[in-house]
């Protein structure tokens, strides 16, 4: 490992997981590495692969060939329920399933690499296509169909893509800045597409096999979500134990597609849901409850996967109970709310009135508070008879008001707030409607100047 290329390769390991890892695994040949790693290694995207084989080695690898062979055999043999021993792990079939899961993840990664390869090559011809078509297999199919064609009206993309995307692709192709590819580059690209499609079919085969064995491997999980979805989940997660280790929120998102925007708004974009969307339970719930159902399904599926990974319930009873639970919960959500009963009236005076406080209330109360004059009139001095209005004890008593020695020289009538307000209102009323005035004149014209100040304060 003394060569420069190897030390650069060690750097690569830190940068990118899938590409470098797969390269590491499948490429035992150092010479190959030296061939294609040239120039700037710091940025992995600027790696020039000229040769497809140096990029994707999976199809040639022994492991791949072995497993595919076994899968074909097992598929031909049909489903034989082998009576498994006490420990599942010893069973060769289970081992095969585990390998299949690993392989399907590898195939995924491989497809991504090939997709990158095709994309790099095809960028010269049609750069915008990669942002319009996200899915690698669809992209490969479209590239294969278009080939070197410049005029997209001659190319029939029906069935490969949804019609809206076809339209967008055609429009973009007419204004694209790409040029036709040279023949050898085109050939390589087509080869890469073929390989991608082959890998895709292989993956499908593997998944079918896993699905057929699913009831035997993970009975509880398949009871809840169905064997197809269970197989897909296991495949994407990379094994039953990997699936069991995932938190439920991740399980919910396994297999979620990235949305192609194509200029459409995200306001109507749905919540993110992955393979769980294809389960029967999800499809039969009304759309309003779908997001809740998805979360519920994901959590129960995770529980079932955990039971299965430890072979806690080989017969699948736990799965059945969980499924029942799910059904019951969804039923409950759909129940109408309980009918509203008219409430009887509350007992009178049982709830004390809420008293308000604050500055406003205090100011309001001040207007009706007892004035100083009245306070003095209410009190009397000891041993001193009070004066009264009619004299001689008749009429209203004056109390301490106006008595010598009461400490006050004169009792002035402080400005009573209530009186002021009443006076203002009175003036407004009088001056507001004075005889034959036209509607255009305002009452302000008639109020004396000194009072306008007070009014101005109120108006401001």
């Amino acid at each position: 490992m003394a060569t420069l290329a190897d030390s650069f390769l060690a750097d690569l390991d830190e940068l990118s997981d899938n590409e470098a890892d797969v390269l590491e695994e499948e490429n035992n040949d150092v010479a190959n590495m030296e061939e294609d790693i040239d120039g700037d290694l710091a940025d992995i995207e600027t790696l020039n692969y000229d040769d497809l084989d140096s990029v994707s080695k999976l199809q040639k690898s022994q492991r791949y060939i072995d497993i595919m062979q076994k899968v074909e055999d097992a598929l031909e043999k049909g489903s034989d329920i082998s009576n498994q021993g006490l420990v599942l792990e010893d069973d060769p079939e289970y081992q095969l399933i585990v390998d299949c899961n690993g392989l399907s993840v590898d195939i995924e990664n491989e497809i991504v690499i090939i997709h990158n390869f095709i994309r790099d090559k095809y960028r010269l011809k049609f750069p915008e296509l990669e942002s319009l078509v996200h899915h690698p297999i669809d992209y490969a199919r479209v590239v294969k169909k278009i080939g070197n064609e410049m005029d997209l009206t001659l190319v029939d993309l029906e069935g490969l893509l949804p019609s809206a995307i076809i339209m967008v692709v055609s429009v973009t192709a007419s204004t694209t800045s790409g040029k036709p590819l040279p023949e050898d580059v085109l050939q390589k690209t087509i080869d890469a597409c073929d390989r991608a499609l082959a890998l895709d079919t292989a993956k499908k085969k593997v998944l079918d096999f896993v699905e057929s064995r699913m009831g035997y491997i993970a009975p509880n999980l398949s009871t809840i979500v169905g064997s197809a979805v269970a197989a897909k989940l296991m495949g994407t997660a990379g094994g039953l134990s990997a699936l069991a280790k995932m938190p439920a929120c991740n399980v919910q998102l396994l297999g979620a597609k990235k949305k192609t925007l194509a200029g459409f708004s995200t306001a109507t974009s749905q919540f993110r849901v992955g393979y769980i969307e294809q389960t029967e339970i999800f499809q039969t719930t009304p759309p309003a409850l779908r997001s809740r159902a998805c979360r519920l399904l994901a959590s129960k599926a995770t529980l079932a996967a955990r039971i299965d990974s430890t072979r806690g319930d080989p017969l699948g009873n736990a799965g059945k109970t969980l499924k029942e639970e799910i059904h019951k919960k969804i039923e409950k959500w759909q129940e109408p709310p309980p009918a509203k009963q008219p409430k009887p009236l509350p007992v009178p005076d049982s709830e004390p009135k809420k008293k308000r406080g604050g500055r406003r209330l205090r100011k309001m109360k001040e207007r009706y508070a007892i004035t100083d004059m009245r306070k003095l009139a209410n009190r009397m001095q000891f041993g001193v008879p009070e004066e009264s209005s009619l004299g001689d004890g008749l009429g209203e008593g004056y109390g301490m008001l106006g008595q010598a020695g009461s400490g006050k020289l004169r009792v002035s009538i402080g400005q009573s707030k209530l009186a002021a307000k009443v006076a203002k209102k009175f003036k407004e009323k009088n001056y507001g409607s004075s005889g034959a005035t036209s509607g255009l004149t305002s009452s302000l014209a008639f109020t004396p100047v000194q009072n306008r100040r007070g009014l101005a304060k109120v108006l401001v």
Binding site: P342, P344, L345, P346, V347, P348, D349
Partner: protein
């Protein structure tokens, strides 16, 4: 209508209900089931019985039964229907501008009228009064003529 409210025919039943209604107004309607005005009153009582259930109980007494003639005589019930209010076994009187304060003669115009009357009785009773004023305006109070015997 009136099958929703308990109908009392025996003296004992009337006794027990008066004794057992604690801290709630007891509304006893004396009447018969075939009288038109009585039916009107019963309808209103039945509809509001649940609404006032927190502070009132409503019951019907059949005035034709023999057992309760004691009460008919005691309360001097002559006009049908008559409604008598009790609170904690005290007989509550209400001054509604008519001649007889001890009972309410006739039906009510609306459910809300009945609720107002019961609430007034309740408030007065909680304060400790034995006679309360009627909150209804005079046009809402059914008028009747009392026939005095030998007066």
């Amino acid at each position: 209508m009136s099958y929703l409210l308990p109908t009392l025919t025996r003296k004992k039943e009337v006794d027990t209900i008066i004794r057992d209604t604690i801290d709630k107004v007891l509304v006893l309607r004396f009447g018969r089931a075939d009288d038109a005005v009585c039916l009107q009153l019963d309808d209103i009582l039945a509809k509001t019985a649940r609404e006032v259930s927190k502070f009132a109980t409503v019951a019907l007494v059949d005035v034709d039964s023999d057992d309760v003639q004691v009460y008919v005589k005691y309360f001097d019930i002559t006009l049908i229907p008559s409604t008598i209010f009790f609170f904690n076994a005290h007989h509550m009187k209400m001054d509604s501008g008519t001649a007889d304060h001890t009972k309410w003669v006739g039906a009510f115009h609306e459910k809300q009228d009945f609720i107002d009357v019961v609430e007034a009785i309740f408030r007065g009773a909680m304060k400790g009064k034995l006679i309360v004023n009627c909150p209804l305006p005079p046009e809402r109070i059914p008028k009747y003529q009392l026939l005095y015997k030998d007066v």
